[in-house]
């Protein structure tokens, strides 16, 4: 039951049409189409190797698909580059202090510089602002990476399992910041295997299996009445082959 069919694409926050990706001679994403109108969080779920990260990287422009189109707010994705940010599964931090990592993302903008202290406080890193970023704990590093992404004031935020193997406190901080961003109208596309997190954050869920979308449903429908066999098996904790 694809959610996209009943919506007017003109008002979609994200519209993906016929997206395919081949790497090393192997087709990894097959003719993916979906659109979503919400400004909340679209969770991308699926078993390992389903192509979730590849999809996110294609949407963000880090990988070029063989075919297909991506639009954000009705405009081609490549024209919206300045309005996107991404947080990677493993935080990529420059070899400098936490504050300097944020300064780097300011790219000369005084308005962004003024927001640094607030963001450091939001991610509970004020006291560690002048420590080398790569000496922070995993949770702190990921919070810093999220702060850096938010500093660029994106309209679309891509999150590739940013809370995987983090402590509950860090997960809570990150989830709160994402919800606040959603309330400000930021659209987030979030990869997660955490069903509890998906229930807390997601407005809708795109379920991928072997590079194909088997289901795109509102979150409550997905959890109470999944339509695809693969999603049912995934939610039941079965091995999805």
């Amino acid at each position: 039951m694809p959610m996209s069919d009943s919506h007017n694409p003109k008002h979609s926050t994200v519209q993906v049409e016929g997206l395919s990706l081949t790497l090393g001679g192997k087709r990894l994403l097959h003719d993916l189409s979906f659109n979503t109108q919400t400004s909340g969080t679209t969770l991308i779920m699926g078993p390992n190797g389903a192509g979730k990260s590849l999809l996110l990287r294609c949407l963000h422009g880090l990988l070029e698909p063989d075919q297909g189109t991506v639009e954000f707010f009705g405009k081609p994705a490549h024209t919206q580059q300045r309005h996107q940010a991404m947080v990677f599964q493993k935080a990529v931090l420059l070899r400098r202090t936490a504050r300097a990592n944020l300064l780097f993302a300011c790219q000369g903008s005084e308005a962004r510089k003024k927001r640094i202290e607030t963001l450091l406080s939001d991610v509970h890193l004020t006291e560690k602002a002048d420590q080398p970023a790569r000496l922070l704990s995993g949770g702190e590093q990921q919070r810093l990476a999220l702060a850096r992404a938010l500093l660029t004031e994106p309209q679309i935020l891509f999150l590739d399992e940013p809370t995987a193997s983090l402590d509950p406190a860090s997960v809570l901080i990150i989830e709160r910041l994402i919800q606040e961003a959603n309330e400000r109208g930021v659209k987030t596309l979030f990869i997660s295997h955490d069903l509890g997190q998906a229930k807390r954050l997601a407005s809708d869920i795109v379920f991928l299996h072997k590079g194909q979308i088997t289901e795109h449903s509102p979150a409550d429908t997905f959890f109470t009445d999944p339509q695809s066999r693969e999603a049912k098996a995934y939610l039941d904790g079965e091995l999805v082959l």
Binding site: H60, L62, Q81, R82, A85, M86, A105, R134, L135, T152
Partner: protein, 233 residues
């Protein structure tokens, strides 16, 4: 006999023997000048190779890595052929001058600095590439960022180049000619004095050369440790 030579060598060093320190001064001057030009060439070559994509990139990297192992006498011979009177640059009259020795050392250590820079930058580029792409960092900002963030590893590469330059003998003896008070450096002087049986000055220079090598290695270790302490390498 060896004890006497050591004792005489120590006296030469401690008394500040002018001939010995003239040789030391020229060695450092030639090697530092060569290092300066090799940094100016090697860092951009290594960086450009690491962050750009083009056909034949792997072949270029292979060539650069192979050049690291260039035999000094071959480099000396090539520079000699270029600078000799019948060579293409013979008109400049540079053969048997410190400049010729600098050119030979640049030929020797530029591939070392270039190849080591490539390795450092390639690793860093793989790590930062997606982030820079995501943040839309322009190349003009990305390159200085790579250089700054790789500074500890790059300093180590540069010091490795200096170590190679200061201890090299084959190339500089061919293009410099080991002329007294003009092109005689530590390594060529050690070779000459040893062949003459003048072990004291050879040992004196050998001790200084070893001390320099030790100093450079200690500096490499200190730089590495300083970088690791802050997770900057």
């Amino acid at each position: 006999m060896l004890g006497d030579a050591f004792s005489e060598a120590a006296t030469l060093i401690l008394s500040g023997d002018p001939e010995l320190f003239e040789i030391l001064g020229l060695s450092i001057q030639v090697s530092l000048t060569a290092l300066f030009f090799s940094i100016a060439l090697g860092l951009p070559i290594g960086t450009a190779l690491a962050i750009s994509q083009f056909r034949g990139k792997k072949a270029c990297v292979t060539v650069l890595n192979s050049l690291m192992g260039l035999p000094p006498v071959v480099v000396g011979l090539l520079v000699y052929l270029m600078l000799s009177r019948s060579g293409p640059l013979g008109v400049l009259g540079l053969l048997y001058t410190p400049t010729a020795m600098v050119i030979a050392q640049v030929g020797l250590i530029t591939p070392i600095i270039g190849a080591l820079t490539y390795q450092v930058m390639d690793d860093l580029h793989r790590e930062y590439r997606d982030l820079f792409s995501s943040l839309k960092v322009p190349l003009a900002k990305a390159v200085p960022t790579y250089l700054w963030d790789a500074r500890y590893s790059l300093i180590t590469s540069v010091l490795a180049g200096f170590g190679r330059a200061i201890s090299e003998v084959g190339a500089v003896i061919i293009v410099g000619g080991n002329i007294d008070h003009l092109t005689r450096v530590m390594t060529t002087a050690i070779a000459l004095e040893t062949s003459k049986g003048e072990l004291a000055i050879a040992l004196g220079l050998g001790i200084i050369l070893l001390a320099l090598a030790l100093f450079v290695n200690a500096l490499v270790t200190w730089v590495k440790t300083a970088g690791q302490k802050n997770a900057y390498v």
